[in-house]
Amino acid sequence: MIEVRDLHKSFGALKVLQGASLSIAKGESVVIIGRSGGGKSILLKLLIGLIKGDKGEVLIESENISRMNERQLLRVRRKFGMLFQSAALFDSMTVAENVGFVLMREKRSSENDIRQRVAEALEMVELPGIEDKKPSELSGGMRKRVGLARAIVYRPEIVLYDEPTTGLDPVVSDSIDQLIVSIRERLHVTTVAVTHDMRSARRIGQRIMMLHEGRIYFQGTPDEVFSSEDPVVSRFVTGVADPKDHSF
């Protein structure tokens, strides 16, 4: 469903991706791990065409999106839902307007229908009855849930999560992880999550990929990753810094 071939991306002299390649099957749940600033979020944004790569290809259902312009990408993005690290809710709108944004813009459904679908999506993220609240009235965990409701309300085929548990306490993080798994099972969506929270990666991922030095350095099932004896992987998984590496 998603294929990335030899993807390169630099910002000035900083080379973020240096030939990243990966393949994700339909319905699969993949977690991309890696060090902070290692290009995980950039890779995620390249998958949905929010930024353009310098070289390489991104194929979504065999369609190369690397050379598409912004208007052509709008059609492809309809297949995606994305939860941002900061939730990125529209702060001038209510929760209902945020969640129902796509439905209201499409103008295919009646107001009643939209209201019902918004309520269903909020129910799915376990936040019923908060339609009239403003994002500023919500806690960090609630904002992420509303962001998730907005990402799934129009039934996308692929859901991308950018650091879904960053900044949340362990209990709320656990509930978000459970929610991601439950949404994958209920909606049969392809899930791609980027995180450096290893507990979360183990819970969400059926397959874990490690991004290191701009490439997919290692990939395998959670058990394979957590039992790996590769020094780079095991140091990352156990959270032990290499005293010789000053960038850690």
Partner: protein, 251 residues
Amino acid sequence: MRERFQGLGQFVLWAKEVIVSLFTLRVSGRDLVYQLYFIGVKSQSVVFITGAFTGMVMAAQTYFQFHRVRLDHATLAVVSVSMCSELGPVLAGLMVSGRVGAALAAELGTMRVTEQIDALRTLAAHPIDYLVVPRFLATLIAMPLLTSASIAIGIGAGYGICKVFMGPFATYAYDNMVYYTGLEDLLTGVIKAFIYGGIIGMISCYKGMTCREGAEGVGRATTEAVVFSSITILITNFFLTLILNNLIQPA
């Protein structure tokens, strides 16, 4: 220097996309009405106060000078022509670029740094269609209306000052104003205001949409939006005065 030319090139391509989107009418009526309210209705007080006091100062100063050479009756004609073709549109443009330009750049810049614009793009909405075109169109529509009202208020306030200084003889000043102010003067002001509305909308939205990361980025975008809009208005005004004087003013 090369970077500046690159920046100018990017702005031209971006502006082209805004114009194309404008003519394909992808704008939502609800968004346009909201922006018209924010940009037009909410700017009334600042533009009207500017118009009124400019008209009064202009009338007082003109009267003081003309009174020495016994040309008091020409006072309001000078105020009227100045307000219509120069002071009305330019001062309204500067005030709107300060109030609206800063607000547009800060709003869009904040949306950009908090990833709301990226979120919009993932929800299959084009930021130019959804965010820029309603704001741009609203400044285009609002500026001529605000300027026309500001001109009327300025002339009215100037007439009030003439009444204070000239008493019943202010009627002569009024008659001279009607005689010497043509429709072409008002038309010049309205055309200028329309163009300044475009300048404010385009520059402010561009600065907001291309804002750099962080609070510093938003601050810089806001400042640049106001400074660039104001300077562009003042420079454009000179050339528009020359062009419009040849095109629509009688020889």
